[in-house]
């Protein structure tokens, strides 16, 4: 412990971060008596971290091609030590996140925490909600089993029926008129590169705004 303290102060002597950490994070005043419903946002973030951690491991084995995706998922689930647990944690964290983000939004709505001056943070939260739905939709295709293939086929077909923009959206999502190799590459890249990057940016903004504006006081 002393060693850790020593290293911490050695680093701090050079970077002078301690005052900021103490004043702006640890000693930041928050309203008294926050109940457990105030934890839903933190839980959602924690699940995001678990999803990222398990997701990174799965990319070590996953291959985004129709010929190999299924076998890769089969291998990483059933042959790799702990593979089924890692994929299981990813699966369940994702499902649970849908519940916790919904509860977090309900809590913010019920407590009126979106009201002035926190409108911008509410908007960043709605963006995050859309991103989470995007993760769910793109991730579902990746195992390339029957359920994945047909659910995505039907999902993208439904989008295709929308007037004016439908046909374009369908082609954009599928990478052509049919669901195939390009679709899988697109969904994979969205799932592991685009969406995580955008999500991290919005999360940072979300957190900085909470720090700046403080937690909306309970009623």
């Amino acid at each position: 412990m002393n060693v850790l303290k020593h290293i911490y102060f050695w680093v701090d002597e050079r970077l002078e971060m301690h005052d900021y950490i103490k004043k702006d994070i640890l000693d930041k005043p928050i309203p008294k008596g926050l109940n457990l419903s105030y934890c839903f946002g933190g839980i959602t973030f924690f699940l995001f971290v678990m999803l990222a951690a398990t997701g990174y491991f799965m990319t070590l084995y996953y291959v985004p091609s129709p010929e190999q995706a299924y076998d890769a998922v089969d291998y990483l689930t059933f042959e790799i030590p702990m593979g089924q647990v890692i994929r299981g944690v990813h699966h369940w964290s994702g499902n649970l996140m849908m519940v916790t983000i919904f509860l977090h939004m309900l809590r913010v709505f019920i407590y009126g925490a979106y009201k002035k001056p926190r409108e911008i943070n509410w908007i960043s939260g709605v963006f995050l909600f859309c991103l989470v739905m995007g993760f769910g939709f793109t991730g579902y295709l990746l195992p390339w089993d029957q359920k994945a293939y047909w659910a995505t086929k039907v999902g993208t077909s439904i989008m295709g029926t929308v007037p004016v923009v439908g046909d374009y959206t369908l082609r954009l999502m599928r990478g052509g008129s049919d669901l195939g190799a390009l679709t899988l590459t697109r969904f994979y890249t969205l799932h592991v590169l685009f969406l995580p990057l955008v999500t991290v940016i919005f999360l940072l903004a979300h957190f900085v705004m909470i720090r700046k504006q403080g937690i909306s006081s309970p009623l």
Binding site: K23, L26, D27, K28, P29, I30, P31, K32, L36, Y38, G42, I43, F46, M50, D74, T77, F78, Q84, V85, G88, V89, W92, S93, L96, M98, L106, F109, I110, Y111, G112, Y114, K115, K116, R118, E119, W122, I123, M133, G136, F137, Y140, P143, W144, D145, Q146, K147, A148, Y149, W150, A151, K153, V154, I158, T161, V162, P163, G166, S216, S217, L219
Partner: protein
């Protein structure tokens, strides 16, 4: 003049983030970790279905539960009305979500003093839950 620390400036309705709330949050996160990693992932291990077969037209797909309410909505708007379920309600819903702080400018925060907001919220939540359950059962 020496600068006051945050702790000295606290009002009686405030406390500081560490350790009280951070501690609570960490305990909850550990419980979630146990729930997900130990209970769910081990008791309900993920599997893998049959490999995708694009020629199999008999497979009846069902969306994941979190898209089920949208999918179920399609059944209420057949034929030409389909666009209501595929575009108008989902896109309109998201637009309304974005606009909530501007549609509701009443500074009152207490839920019981905002009956209209609360009723609309309860109806929306009830509709989403009902559609999801109907979809899962069908």
């Amino acid at each position: 003049m020496e600068e006051l620390s945050n702790t000295d400036k606290l009002e009686h309705t405030e406390e500081i983030f560490y350790p009280s709330f951070l501690f609570k949050e960490i305990v909850v996160m550990m419980l979630i970790f146990i729930l997900v990693a130990v209970i769910l992932a081990l008791v309900f291990p993920v599997g893998l279905g049959d490999p995708a077969d694009p020629t199999d037209n008999l497979f009846v797909p069902k969306p994941e539960w979190y898209f089920m309410s949208l999918y179920e909505l399609l059944k209420f708007f057949p034929g030409k009305l389909e666009v209501i379920a595929t575009a108008i309600i989902p896109a309109g819903g998201i637009v309304i979500l974005f606009l909530i702080p501007f549609l509701d400018k009443n500074p009152e925060k207490r839920p019981l003093k905002r009956p209209i907001s609360m009723i609309l919220m309860l109806l929306t939540v009830a509709a989403i839950i009902a559609l999801t359950i109907m979809g899962l059962l069908s």
